[in-house]
C-alpha cells in the first residue's frame, strides 16, 4: 500500500499538510505550486531500493517490500537519510526526530488521504491506483469527446 497522487485533481488547498501535522506534529507531506498552473504534493515515495534505508546506520529505517518503515527509538538523528533521499522527502530539523511518511500503520487509511477534498490522493497498491487513474482519464476523454460532438451539432 502506498499513497499515489492524481495531479489533475490537486487544488493546492494543503489540507493534507494540515491533516498530517494534526497526527504527527509536523507535516511529512508538502504541497507547492508550479508556475501557477499545477500543484504537486511531495511525500516519501517508499522506493523499492530505498536509499534512506540503504544508508541508515542504526536500522531505524527499514525496507519492507513496498514500504519503508521508520522506528524512532533506533534513530540517532545523524541526518544521512535526509541527504540520501533523491526526492528531498525526508526532513530533520535540529529540534526534532526524522520526519518521513510511515503510511500511518495504525490506521486503516492515512488522514491525508481521508482529508483530501479533491480525492487527489489515492491509497492502495499500484494496481488499484492505476485503475483509478485510468478510469478518471477515460472519463475526461469521454467528456471532451461528448462536448466536441455537441459543438459540431451546434
Amino acid at each position: 500500500m502506498e499513497i499515489y497522487v492524481d495531479l489533475e485533481r490537486c487544488i493546492f488547498c494543503r489540507a493534507c499538510e494540515v491533516a498530517c501535522e494534526r497526527v504527527h506534529g509536523t507535516s511529512r507531506i508538502s504541497v507547492e505550486a508550479v508556475k501557477d498552473r499545477a500543484s504537486v504534493p511531495v511525500a516519501c515515495h517508499h522506493c523499492e531500493a530505498a536509499p534512506c534505508a540503504l544508508v541508515c546506520p542504526s536500522g531505524a529505517l527499514t525496507q519492507e517490500e513496498a514500504e519503508v518503515g521508520f522506528e524512532a527509538g533506533k534513530c540517532t538523528r545523524c541526518g544521512l537519510c535526509v541527504v540520501a533521499c533523491p526526492f528531498g522527502a525526508v526532513d530533520l530539523d535540529p529540534a526534532s526526530m526524522v520526519q518521513k511518511c510511515d503510511l500511518c500503520p495504525d490506521r486503516e487509511v492515512p488522514p491525508c488521504v481521508l482529508t483530501c477534498p479533491a480525492e487527489a490522493l489515492i491509497f492502495g497498491d499500484r494496481f488499484e491506483a492505476t485503475e483509478v487513474l485510468r478510469r478518471r482519464a477515460a472519463s475526461r476523454i469521454a467528456q471532451s469527446y461528448a462536448a466536441s460532438i455537441g459543438r459540431e451539432r451546434g
Binding site: A38, V42, L54, V55, P57, R77, C78, L80, P86, F87
Partner: protein, 158 residues
C-alpha cells in the same frame, strides 16, 4: 567529576579519517548536543568535541560509540584531564548545484555514494540528484511531474 569506579576519567578520541561529519553524535541526546558543538559556516562544517566532560558516564560513552556510523569515536581512560579541553574537526561541504547552499559534507556524500547501487545514483534529475540540496531536489521533481499538466493547461481557451 564522574568517571569509572576506579576514579579514572573517560577521554574521548575521534578518528579524523573515519569521521564523516554527520550529526549523529551532536544530535544524540540533549546533554550531548550541549557538549558536542556542530556549526555550519559558509561551506565548512565544524564539530567541536570535548575531551572529557562530567556527563561522560558509561551510558553516554557507550551511546556515542554505538551511534557513530563509521566507528570513529572511542574512549580511553586517564587519571587526569588532558591539557586541551576540546578539539575540533572541520569538514568541507558540498554546495547545491542549483541554489548554491551547502547541504552536506563531502565525506557524507561519499559515504552515501558507496552504499547505493549505481542506477539509484543516476536516477532523478538530468544532473545527478546527489548534487542538489533537498529543497532543490523537491523542486526538480515537482517541475518534472507537472510538466505535462502545465502544457495541457496552457492551451488557449476556446
Amino acid at each position: 567529576m564522574k568517571g569509572t569506579e576506579e576514579g579514572l576519567l573517560r577521554i574521548l578520541a575521534v578518528d579524523e579519517d573515519e569521521c564523516i561529519g554527520c550529526r549523529a553524535c551532536s544530535n544524540l541526546w540533549p546533554e550531548i548536543s550541549a557538549a558536542v558543538g556542530l556549526s555550519d559556516r559558509g561551506a565548512k562544517r565544524t564539530i567541536r568535541f570535548p575531551r572529557s566532560i562530567e556527563e561522560f558516564e558509561a551510558r553516554i560513552a557507550e551511546g556515542l560509540v554505538e551511534a557513530c556510523p563509521t566507528g570513529a569515536i572511542s574512549f580511553g581512560l586517564a587519571d587526569e584531564l588532558p591539557g586541551e579541553e576540546s578539539f575540533a574537526l572541520t569538514f568541507e561541504m558540498v554546495r547545491c548545484r542549483i541554489c548554491g547552499r551547502p547541504f552536506a559534507t563531502k565525506k557524507e556524500m561519499e559515504y552515501i555514494r558507496d552504499r547505493l547501487p549505481e542506477p539509484v545514483q543516476a536516477r532523478g534529475s538530468a544532473a545527478s540528484w546527489m548534487d542538489l540540496c533537498t529543497g532543490c531536489r523537491q523542486d526538480v521533481g515537482r517541475n518534472a511531474a507537472a510538466r505535462g499538466l502545465i502544457v495541457a493547461r496552457s492551451w488557449p481557451r476556446r
